[in-house]
Amino acid sequence: MHISTTKILDSLSKYGKIEKVHENTYFVEVSADKVREVSEILHWKLGGHFSVTVGSDERPINGYFKVYHVFLMDKQKLSIIVHVKVNPVVPKLPSITPIIPGANWHEREVHDFFGIFFEDHPNLERLILPYDWPKGVYPLRKDVSIRGLRSKLLKNNAESEGKRKAEEEGYIVPIGPYHPALHEPEYFELYVDGEKIVDAKYKGFHVHRGIEKVAEEKLTINQIPFIAERICGICGYTHNVAYCQAVENAAGIEVPLRAKYIRSILLEIERIHSHLLWFGVLFHLLGFDTGFMMTWLIREKIMDLAEVLTGNRKNYGLNLVGGVRRDINSEKIEFSLKTLNYVETKLRSVLDKMLKLKEVISRTKNIGLLNRNEAKKLSVVGPVARASGIDTDVRKHHPYAAYSEVEFKVPVYDEGDVYSRALVRYDEVFESINILKQLLKNIPKGNIMADEVKIPEYRKGLGLTEAPRGENVHLVITGRDNKIYRWRPRAPSYNNIPSTLIMLKGENLADAPAIIASIDPCFSCTDHLVIIDIKRNIKRRIRLKELARRRQC
């Protein structure tokens, strides 16, 4: 069933004023009592999906708080942003979580940072702010400055809620997953009955760095791409591109085609290296270290290629608002094509065989199931969604950079298990090589930077990219004095991590590492698990890596 763009806009027009911001992106202002109705129509009836909720303190501009719900309509290639004014004195808004469970974390984040209360939210607890954060201090509000925040935190620390709670209930914070010096301290609690996982809990955001605040308060427009690149240690460039696109869209800057090609080329290189890294991690967790080493050996060629093209293996540092900073010459194109041919033949001969191994199949097939309906409810993105039968790919449905110039397929599998997530990524690696070959052969001549880069104040822009882990959304409101007023990056794992809790239920404990890794949550061996035996009531804490190793014997 295809619904046309005009029909969607017609059905929305009765709720509020529609404003076209840039191509295929519409802002709809609705009143607070209609938010839920509009969200339901967009997510469940018109075939779109909920993407991100962004809070914003616009009291200095228009006297209100604002909440933006971003919906992406894949079939119509539309982005619809529903925005609501929130009263600054009594900031409250009806929650959309009862209708779209995927909005749970998003609304809690807005509640944490702006103090906007969501009515009927099932669980409006703190998500990102730590327990010892003083009450009533909302860090992303504009009347809170970084310097003021620091003194407030120091002053309130002694009488903080968290400390009191810790003393009353008598628990101490373990070093391990909460330690800020370890990268990626995700923290899962698994409740087990014998070998079966009965329930799972997740606590994250131990290393939330508040870069949005730093960017809004301290950095200039062209400094932010470099901090955006450091959001992720694996797919940083995609954040860099998404931010630049958001600002370019807001300011109406036309990026030269050659620059768009270069962006696409590097995004695909990043995707290949990220997927190969993922295969390595999966094989390692299954105890198949030969597979881990061989995929990473091939990945090394891709890292070398990135180094030749950009000057660095990771952190390409290539983008500015308006274009890219380095050109690619014919020598580099030749080198790239040679590397890609090598990688393709190697992968076909190695990875193909690895995925056919009996051991790999039995440890991944029909494990960690996520059906289509659950996936839609949580609004999961990227390979996780594609393995659960949802055809969504920003490159195809919301073309950016040079993706409208190339032909490629989007792999979709219906099984929704770990194996199909592996197959989606397997197919994508070869699609990426195919895209890269087309891009490298057809790259047009021309400038790599827009001639004029002028950024008007208080304009809104949406930047979308398909990161290796899924759809990546950046919403930007430009500000005065070469600054950004509000910047909200949303990484794909934000939408995907809640789905692991569903996947884990009813599975064997031994499969937990592979299931958690299957969504590719920027995984590292510092992750810790707490296993709670509900019958004997024993709590043990071990490293995920040890669990993987222990279960092999």
């Binding site: 062209n222 597979g291 900073r325 380095r326 065989k353």
Partner: protein, 168 residues
């Protein structure tokens, strides 16, 4: 079984790939973004690099007592993006291909360029480095060059006077 044999064969054929770094040097390609270094002879102390540096690894300070300006590069903060190289008008700061930066003393991570400043002809305040004044003079018409010897405040006063003369 054949899949397993194939993988085994491939693994044996690949052999050992680990390099004996640091005993065996690692080659980096041309255009590698390594440690930035300032050419003291070329630097004019304009501070263009300081303005664009995303992590503020570059900073500038003016010492009024000694009337010198210092451009300070701290590699501990550097992210090797190369924005300074793009911004530099005299190609003084450049990224090298060096990447082995580990050291026991933080002082090794600093590079400081100290440049003498010119004093304003009228008020005597140091306002810019001598090299910067000379560099700017190249692109300023001859009859206006004397204005370069003044600090920005005195310059605007003097030029305002000229404009009012012109009106009369």
């Amino acid at each position: 079984m054949s899949a397993r044999l194939h993988i085994l064969k491939e693994a044996l054929r690949t052999g050992v790939v680990t390099k004996k770094y640091p005993y065996e040097p690692v080659k980096v390609p041309e255009g590698f973004r390594g440690k930035p270094s300032i050419d003291v002879e070329k630097c004019i102390g304009c501070g263009a690099c300081v303005n664009v540096c995303p992590p503020n690894a570059l900073s500038a300070e003016i010492d009024l007592n000694k009337s010198v300006k210092r451009i300070i590069l701290f590699l501990g903060k550097c992210i090797f993006c190369g924005r300074c190289q793009d911004a530099c008008p005299t190609e003084a700061i450049k990224l090298t291909r060096e990447f082995e930066l580990s050291t026991l003393t933080t002082n090794d991570l600093y590079q400081v360029v100290e440049l003498k400043m010119a004093k304003c002809e009228i008020c005597g305040k140091p306002y810019a480095t001598i090299r910067q004044v000379l560099f700017t003079a190249k692109s300023v018409p001859k009859d206006q060059r004397p204005l370069l010897l003044l600090c920005s405040e005195c310059r605007s006063k003097v030029s305002a006077k000229y404009i009012s003369y012109a009106r009369w």
